[in-house]
């Protein structure tokens, strides 16, 4: 190695060093370790035992395995993605109409982004209370019988999703609003000259130009929806019931039952699901959706 190459290497790696240590200890190292661990059984106290692919096989083969139920629960929460995107697109569109009072509306709609999911989940647990929750009180006025939102395995996922959409839409609103502001006014002016009304302008100009934003929000939304933790954990006080997702199972396996190998294997399955879902975006169909 020449003198100058050595100097370049020293310089480069000394700038990179603090970062590289963090990367090795808290990202790359754990990834490798987790993969290895998934082929072992380890309860933290005895010696780890190599079990080959048993941790993976038991997910699929074990008669008592709840794997598909957990996967189904995880996938259910994907409904929040279109819901929060739709709500966010509508509110961002309204904010972009330059109406009086927009600033105030903006402050209100963006606010949930700074709130921790924990107080929001506690407030929504109360909103969804079977006897005294505001939602059931309002539904009663419409003649709907009270719904056991958090106490019924069929209602618990929709109930939690409501809270997630309430909070998640704020982030999407901010992103949509920024994207809408980036669309040049001239495009609309030309459309007006062509006699296009607001409806046609929205579908022929706004929507196509928002494609990259839809793409971005749907992919980050899917990733976040598959990793919901605080809403489920807090609203069910850890009992989770019908909302027991893959991530919740990883949590219970690792930190309560100390099945470190099994938990690692399951977390890789979660990665695989996220990876496969994001592959959809690289198919020709997905690509067409992403380009303006």
């Amino acid at each position: 190695m020449s003198n100058s190459t050595l100097r370049h290497a020293l310089l480069g790696y000394s700038f990179l060093l603090p970062n590289l240590i963090g990367f090795a200890l808290f990202t790359l190292g754990p990834i490798v370790f987790s993969l290895l661990l998934s082929f072992f059984n380890w309860d933290l106290f005895s010696t780890p035992v190599f079990v080959d692919t048993a941790n993976y096989l038991r997910l699929f083969a074990d008669a008592g395995s709840q794997f598909w139920v957990y996967t189904g629960n995880s996938l259910f929460f994907l409904v929040v993605v279109p819901l929060q995107m739709g709500a966010a697109l509508l509110t961002a569109y309204l904010l972009n109409q330059h109406l009086k009072g927009t600033l105030l509306f903006k402050i209100i709609f963006f606010l949930p982004v700074v709130l921790s999911a924990v107080p929001v989940a506690i407030i929504w647990e109360y909103m969804l209370d079977t006897e005294n929750g505001l939602l059931n009180i309002l539904l009663a006025h419409l003649g709907v019988a009270s719904i056991p939102w958090l106490y019924d395995s069929a209602w618990i996922k929709p109930g939690i999703s409501l809270m997630v959409v309430w909070q998640g839409a704020a982030f999407s609103t901010i992103i949509y609003y920024a994207a809408l502001q980036g669309i040049p006014d001239q495009l609309y002016e030309v459309a007006v000259l062509d006699g296009a009304g607001a409806w046609r302008q929205f579908w022929n100009i706004t929507m196509p130009l928002l494609k990259p934003t839809h793409f971005f929000l749907s992919i980050t939304g899917v990733i976040a929806a598959l990793q919901l933790f605080a809403p489920i954990y807090v609203m069910t006080h850890g009992t989770t019931g019908g909302a027991h997702t893959l991530l919740i199972e990883v949590y219970w396996a690792a930190y309560h039952r100390f099945q470190m190998g099994y938990a690692s294997g399951l977390s890789w399955i979660l990665f695989l699901i996220i990876f496969l879902l994001s592959l959809l975006y690289w198919t020709p169909f997905g690509k067409r959706m992403a380009e303006p």
């Binding site: 370049h8 700038f15 990367f23 700074v114 107080p119 647990e125 605080a230 006080h237």
Partner: protein, 318 residues
């Protein structure tokens, strides 16, 4: 013209509907946090205080409410053991009950939780600003063997979800007796591949001529980093700071795994404990939620523009 006014009206109706959707849970929680025991779930929008005595035939007598009716109470006058129907207004009047706040505050050390949250969030923010900007500079401006390979490795890890990482990090911290310490919560957050990537992309947009000019003037690489790159990267650094601070401030999963000592909990974890202690005691729970929300709302009011811009630039959920 008429058409346009109609559209504007429709827009306002929709805006108000969205406002209600966002504000109603807050207001409902606020009202509930001020309600008195026994009236917590009365379904009303104001907190009412109930008296236990009322005037009966010129004398103050002790009474019990036997039945609540639409606009009246059926009460038992205790000394004479007789029933009476009186308008609700005789026994109750609107008055906020601050006791929920006092009691919640004395049960859970919210001041301490708040300081813990601030400490963790500030350390992580500062840490990432340093490590990610140094790393971002190396990846964007310095040429050294293995640079592109290492960078590619960073990019590849962006897809890996946090749950994959947390089990090994938990084991690592356990090995070094860092569980239930502030360091244990903070250390893994002092670096992120995403932050490094974000800053590298931004640094690439800074004209190289500025750097060359400074080099001609005799500045070293560290001088360039401090005097050219950092001062010109205000928006990107602010975006990363917002992203890391909000992420840490709101995080529940990681601190709830690492921290067990009640004195060391962050705000979300402490509040979640309260939620398990005061099961269904909604007056106090709403008071606790309000206490934990208020600092975030104040922070948001002051830095609203800054935070919004940061969210857009960092582009990932905080």
């Amino acid at each position: 013209m008429k058409h346009r006014r109609l559209t504007a009206t429709l827009f306002y109706v929709l805006l108000l509907a969205a406002t209600a959707w966002y504000l109603v849970p807050f207001l409902w929680a606020l009202v509930t946090s001020l309600k008195h025991p026994g009236t917590i779930s009365d379904g009303r929008w104001l907190p009412y205080e109930r008296a236990s005595t009322m005037e009966v035939e010129g004398e103050e007598q002790e009474v019990r409410i036997v039945e609540e009716r639409e606009t009246t109470f059926l009460v038992r006058v205790l000394p004479t053991d007789t029933l009476r129907e009186v308008p609700r207004g005789v026994l109750e009047h609107v008055s906020p009950n601050w006791k929920n706040y006092e009691e919640t505050w004395s049960i859970a050390p919210f001041g301490r939780y708040f300081l813990n949250s601030i400490l963790v969030a500030l350390c992580m923010t500062l840490g990432q600003l340093i490590t990610c900007s140094l790393g971002g500079y190396a990846f964007s401006r310095l040429r050294f063997p293995g640079r592109d390979a290492v960078f590619l490795l960073y990019l590849a890890t962006l897809m890996i979800p946090t749950p994959v990482l947390t089990v090994p990090i938990y084991l690592l911290l356990r090995e070094y007796h860092l569980l239930n310490t502030y360091q244990g919560v903070i250390l893994p957050g002092l670096f992120s591949a995403y932050g490094t990537f974000l800053l590298r992309q931004f640094f690439l947009t800074i004209p190289r001529e500025l750097e060359d000019a400074a080099r001609v003037d005799g500045a070293g690489r560290l001088g360039v980093y401090f005097r050219i790159i950092i001062p010109l990267s205000g928006p990107a650094l602010a975006a990363l700071a917002t992203f890391v601070f909000l992420g840490s401030w709101n995080d529940f999963f990681w601190p709830s795994i690492v921290l067990t000592d009640p004195e060391m909990l962050t705000l979300p974890v402490g509040l979640a404990h309260l939620n398990d202690i005061y099961l269904f005691d909604y007056g106090r729970l709403m008071a606790g939620s309000m206490i934990s929300i208020i600092p975030a709302v104040l922070m948001y009011m002051v830095f609203q523009r800054f935070i919004t811009r940061g969210v857009v630039m960092s582009g990932i959920k905080g």
